[in-house]
């Protein structure tokens, strides 16, 4: 829903500047062809009365020579989706760099004590470290050996193999190698053809990872975990301990978490995640495929949630209660919210005098640029402009546009799996009648309305922001805070504008749930109220006459 945007005409003009003019200035230096392409990715938001928003071009290839934020397919597959799972040994099949750069760089936390064997391979980086010889004669032999060595050293439950760019070109059959080693070692070994040149960003890798997990792991274990209100949390990667905070809330409410994809995750939990009764989606972009496939094959429905922001957290908990529709759960959820909120409100009231009216920009990921607007709104701050690094149109405009999304050369090479209901295990968790009843009460299934529908008119939505455009935005707006990642951090801060990293949280956090919201309020207060910036210019730069004084003294 559009958060009151239409009721507040004051916000139509972007920070008192004409957004169309801003757009023109962003495009001015590009060659005509580039400008035409970027023009479709830079959109001035407008939400119509029935919730329609303008079309934004997204998930399209970045123009060569424009420095963007995006990583590659391999990064999305290995780093984002599989990486946070502690007990799979992830072997990078390729030259050393790709594996090295994805070694413990993401800030996903895990608690090895929460599984019986305590396995944790997150601190390791396994690579076949391809050399000339493998590029010329093929790397399958070395890959087999790498799998064998990893097995001999660690005796893991599962080994996953990730292909990098050269692998696809030299034609190694990683899947055949994995099958062979799986038979030989008697553990689960599976491969991903996630060469970096596939798709246009990490997003392709998410999809490939979703497919692979679903094909090789989900459904392997039918044990039904004990407990009431059994759910999976999808697309929550436990950055800064977010998942721990959400787990805390579930526990308080008596909600049973069967599996989480893939923050604080174990492969065993993926294997029986199909036994849960509801899937909750946090990051729609990276994980909606698993949810869709699980629904088709096993009958588990999904709803969109968001635990970023105190109000959003409360709302998400209520949605879960609404779905299970039991008085007992509804009561606990209300009680938990009532108990948690006072501390949140007090913290917010404390910082608001300093944060009210300040202006933020968010360019990050495939869901956070949306979710974090909630927290800024709670601080009384305005989001002037936002965009995703690797979102698709449905993440911007809502899933209703899915049928209109065109398949292009870059998306065609990502496999769409054909899923059919499992003959024995498909079991709709709720009847059609019940579903209709809940929908009538406002609970939406398989729905995500996207970011733009919730942003005020006149704000700028920019997909795949480039470094050059970042610099221009900073120059034109001087926002009070800019949210992106480490690649943008130090450029933005050179201008004296604080940058909050929303990938790694600047190694802070958690920011999810109620406690997380409090952390975030304090952090943003610290950043926008910092006094360091006032020393940017030395006194004699500010007042040249002073330098003479100093010299004279």
């Amino acid at each position: 829903m559009a958060t009151g945007a239409n009721k507040k005409p004051a916000e139509v003009r972007l920070d008192r500047q004409d957004p169309e003019k801003i757009k023109a200035r962003l495009l001015a230096k590009y060659p005509p062809k580039v400008a035409r392409k970027r023009a479709k990715q830079i959109v001035v938001n407008k939400v119509s009365a029935d919730g329609e928003v303008p079309v934004i071009s997204s998930n399209v290839r970045t123009v060569p020579g424009l420095m963007g934020q995006r990583g590659c397919c391999y990064a999305g597959c290995k780093g984002v989706v599989l990486g946070p799972t502690r007990d799979i040994i992830n072997i990078t099949h390729g030259p050393i760099g790709c594996g090295y750069y994805s070694w413990l760089t993401r800030r996903n936390q895990t608690d090895p004590d929460s599984s019986a064997d305590g396995h944790n391979y997150i601190p390791y980086c396994f690579s076949t470290d391809m050399q000339d010889q493998e590029i010329i004669f093929g790397g399958e032999k070395k890959l087999k050996q790498a799998i064998q060595e990893a097995y001999d050293n660690f005796k893991p439950k599962a080994i996953a193999v990730f292909s990098t760019c050269p692998v696809g070109l030299i034609g190694d059959d990683v899947h055949a190698v994995c099958r062979e080693m799986k038979a030989k070692l008697g553990i689960n070994v599976f491969g991903f053809s996630c060469e970096g040149y596939k798709g246009v960003s990490q997003s392709a890798g998410h999809h490939i990872a979703n497919n692979g997990i679903f094909k090789h792991v989900v459904g392997l274990d039918d044990t039904v975990k004990e407990g009431n209100y059994r759910i999976n949390l999808l697309g929550e990667y436990n950055i800064g301990g977010d998942a721990f905070e959400i787990e805390r809330l579930f526990e308080r409410c008596g909600i049973t978490l069967v599996s989480s994809y893939s923050g604080n995750a174990s492969i065993d939990a993926f294997a029986n995640s199909h036994t849960a009764d509801l899937n909750l989606i946090m990051c729609h972009r990276s994980i909606n495929y698993v949810a869709e496939m699980m629904e088709t094959k096993f009958g588990v429905p999904w709803i969109k949630v968001n635990f970023i922001g105190a109000a959003a957290t409360a709302k998400s908990l209520r949605k879960i209660a609404q779905y299970f529709d039991e008085q007992e759960l509804t009561d606990i959820v209300e009680q938990v919210i009532a108990e948690e909120m006072p501390a949140v409100e007090a913290a917010c009231a404390d910082v608001r005098p300093r944060t009210e009216g300040k202006r933020a920009m968010l360019f990050v990921g495939g869901s956070r640029a949306h979710h974090y607007q909630e927290l800024f709104a709670e601080l009384g701050m305005k989001t002037l402009s936002a965009g995703y690094e690797f979102g698709h149109r449905d993440d911007y405009e809502g899933r209703k546009v899915l049928p209109d999304i065109k398949v292009d050369a870059d998306s065609r090479n990502i496999e769409e799996m054909e899923i059919t209901p499992d003959p024995e295990r498909f079991k709709p968790r709720i009847s059609e009648a019940k579903k209709a009843e809940l929908e009538a009460k406002g609970l939406q299934f398989s729905a995500y309305d996207g970011m733009m529908t919730e942003m005020p008119d006149g704000t700028m939505v920019i997909d795949d922001l480039s470094q050059y455009e970042t610099d221009q935005l900073i120059k034109m707006f001087k926002p009070d805070i800019f949210c992106a990642g480490i690649k943008e951090k130090y450029t933005v801060q050179k201008h004296g504008i604080p940058l909050k990293q929303l990938h790694s949280y600047d190694y802070g956090g958690p920011y999810a749930g109620f406690k997380g919201a409090i952390n975030f309020y304090k952090e943003i207060d610290r950043m926008v109220s910092s006094r360091a910036w006032q020393y940017m210019r030395a006194p004699w730069q500010e007042h040249p006459e002073l330098s003479a004084t100093y010299a004279w003294e």
């Binding site: 020579g65 030259p95 760099g97 060595e149 990893a150 760019c165 050269p166 610099d471 130090y490």
Partner: protein
């Protein structure tokens, strides 16, 4: 002397101790004024490399990319490279674009020099930036090969032999050292009334002040015009003992093509190596060593004598970039520290011999030297060697934690301390700082373990 290659242990690599080639090349290009590094391949590599270097330098660090898609991987990247160069010119108006290849464009065999020629021919009457290419397949070499390769490519592409007017200049190829080190080197050369042409010089671009005005490309770096003058310099100094066994470097190129005399030295880490460095500057300039440095040296020696009790017989494990480790090993020898392990992920087959040549013979039978190594191997080796401390980069932290030995951070990457770009290793002052850090760490360990709580050491 015991030494081993990694093959004694494993085929695959677990927890690598080296990075990939285009990273080194991109870093070099960041040390040239008004330059944009461009990786020819898919965008993941440039993003990873940017991200990784930024976590060390904590500075803006932009690297462009020619952005291969699947069809590019099949049909070749010529068209993409052209578009990338066009767009970089429009956005940044650079003086130079430094083009390094990734494993992808190398594997498909893109002929980048030909693409560049075609591009230059296609815009004959335009004011083009210099286009410098270096081939950096990571399956053939580490980030150090990429680094030295890019330095060579820069002079080989740009150097002119014309005789030079003005002050005597010296080409200085410092190797992969910190911005603070680079500043220190420039100061040292200037003290001899010589002009230093540093390749690369990222002392400002990767360790600059806040901006009062927007800078499309951070200021600083060696100007392209200076690179052209490398052919007319009085001499070249190339740092790195392992590197000095390499036949094709920037220094040898200038010697062969422009007749610039080449001084091949170790990195000036510690007393002996710094002495040699100053001796070279004195010889090139014909000037005596300035009193300021004699005084620095004197103070360093004074501290060494006073602090000897802290070091004698202490065992250290060194790891990281090959020439840094060789330099540190020599310095340890000077301090009376036994470098029980010297390990590198690269090495080029010359590492073992080089380290042997700089460490006093009496230590040799207590030492292990590992070339082409990784952290699993290093850690295994260390179990038996029981070092007192580790000296190396941040990736040794896990090992330091498991072995419960302190890690003194040096070199690259340092992403778990704030001063990665400000650490000083070179010259007498660098040695002094290293000395202080090592001594203080050893004292702190002793102090922590002591039950009384003495405060005099």
């Amino acid at each position: 002397m015991k030494s081993a290659m990694r093959t004694d242990y494993y085929t695959a690599t677990q927890n690598a101790c080296n990075l990939c080639a285009p990273l080194g090349a991109a870093l070099v290009f960041k040390g040239i004024a008004n330059t944009v590094p461009l990786l020819h391949g898919s965008q993941g590599c440039s993003t990873y490399i940017r991200r990784y270097m930024i976590s060390h330098f904590k500075e803006p660090l932009d690297i462009a990319c020619s952005n291969f898609g699947e069809e590019t991987a099949i049909f070749g990247g010529g068209a993409n490279l052209k578009i990338a160069i066009d767009n970089i010119r429009k956005q940044y108006c650079p003086d130079l674009i430094g083009i390094a290849t990734t494993c992808l464009s190398e594997t498909i065999g893109d002929d980048v020099p030909m693409f560049i020629k075609a591009y230059q021919n296609g815009c004959r009457d335009e004011d083009l930036p210099a286009l410098v290419h270096v081939s950096t397949p990571s399956y053939q070499g580490t980030h150090m090969q990429g680094f030295h390769g890019a330095v060579r490519a820069l002079v080989a592409t740009l150097a002119e032999t014309a005789s030079v007017e003005g002050p005597l200049s010296v080409n200085l190829f410092p190797g992969m050292v910190s911005p603070s080190d680079l500043r220190q080197l420039k100061e040292m050369v200037a003290a001899f009334d010589l002009e230093a042409i540093l390749v690369p010089d990222y002392s400002e671009t990767l360790n600059g002040p806040l901006w009062t005005e927007y800078q499309p490309i951070p200021q600083g770096g060696t100007p392209v015009a200076a690179l052209r003058r490398t052919g007319g310099a009085a001499a070249s100094i190339e740092c790195g003992l392992v590197l000095s066994g390499e036949k094709e470097t920037a220094g040898t190129w200038l010697e062969d093509h422009c007749g610039v005399p080449l001084h091949r030295l170790g990195l000036p880490i510690g007393i002996g190596a710094s002495d040699l460095f100053f001796a070279s500057l004195a010889a090139i300039s014909g000037q005596p060593i300035p009193g300021k440095y004699t005084a620095q040296r004197g103070r360093l020696l004074d501290a060494l004598v006073d602090g000897h009790k802290h070091f004698n017989g202490v065992k250290a494990a060194l790891f990281g970039e090959e020439d840094l480790v060789a330099g540190l090993a020599a310095f340890c020898g000077e301090l009376g520290i036994i470098p029980v392990l010297c390990a590198t992920g690269g090495g080029n087959g010359r590492f073992v011999q080089t380290v042997q040549s700089v460490v006093p013979e009496r230590y040799h039978d207590q030492m292990q030297i590992l070339e082409d190594s990784d952290f699993v191997t290093i850690e295994k080796t260390l179990e038996a060697l029981a070092p007192d401390l580790l000296i190396g980069h941040s990736k040794g932290f896990t090992m330091s934690r498991r072995l419960q030995r302190p890690l003194i951070r040096v070199g690259f990457p340092v992403h778990d301390r704030v001063d990665g770009s400000r650490m000083l290793h070179l010259g007498y002052r660098g040695a002094q700082q290293l000395f202080d850090r090592i001594a203080n760490t050893l004292i702190e360990e002793k102090q922590k373990k002591n039950h009384v709580g003495y405060t005099y050491y």
